[in-house]
Symmetry: C2
């Protein structure tokens, strides 16, 4: 059994690092069945002017091109968007742990319908960090989610 709190804390520390850099505070961490961290990272929309590097995608990138994702768990500090959801379905990641379904929510049922185990932690630190970010920078929050800010 993986220590979900431990890995979510690692993902949260990535989110906090991104916040302190002026970026979107969302982190991801991909872990194998033995607890080895395969890849970890955070949203890079601001840092790289790159819309496709959400937290989960940063973890996928850091883990490199792999032959298999069997037995892996993806930790994400925020409920996954449709891009990240599609990615986890495509690459057959069997387990997803979500740190925050308060600030966004919606693709958990789609993941489950594909046979992916979804664990919702609703960690207070994850929730508070994104809540603060949304209040401080609603335009960046909205656009990172692929929506137009009016």
């Amino acid at each position: 059994m993986l220590d979900d709190k431990k890995y979510m804390k690692m993902a949260y520390e990535q989110a906090l690092k991104s916040y302190n850099e002026g970026g979107c505070p969302i982190g991801g961490c991909l872990v194998d069945r033995n607890g080895e961290v395969l890849g970890i990272g955070h949203n890079m929309r601001v840092q790289e002017n790159n819309p496709i590097i959400h937290g989960e995608m940063a973890a996928m990138r850091a883990a490199g091109a792999r032959e298999s994702y069997a037995g892996t768990t993806m930790y994400t500090t925020l409920s996954p968007c449709m891009m990240c959801t599609g990615t986890m379905i495509q690459f057959n990641i069997p387990r997803v742990v979500v740190g925050d379904t308060v600030n966004s929510y919606g693709n958990e049922e789609l993941l489950k319908s594909k046979g992916i185990e979804v664990v919702i932690m609703d960690d207070p630190d994850c929730i508070a960090l994104v809540k603060k970010f949304r209040e401080e920078n609603p335009k960046l929050w909205t656009e990172d989610w692929g929506q137009e800010y009016n």
Copy 2:
């Protein structure tokens, strides 16, 4: 009206470039309503050891973080996988042109269900290039698609 053949040829040239580099021969091109190319690129699984840069994702990355995708068209030489499909849904790309639904197929109906216009070109050059690649490198083809190669 955009000249779909012109932009698909540009995406195909990216695919051919990747093939000649030993990579996966799939290209993408994001174009705005006026015909300006916002981003163009190709699969980078081999070149960057990066599983998330499919052709469409390379085009998204090259286009940078944008305020809106209204009026854009994504050209992809190959039918989009679930990652790229999820990305185009998330970022509200309203139109997708697909160069090859012979070597893979499956997410066109999902795109349409989200109100996205899907145009299937089935361009002989796109189809022939991936067919050749699949025959030459079935392991890379399979793993790029997120499947285990046995």
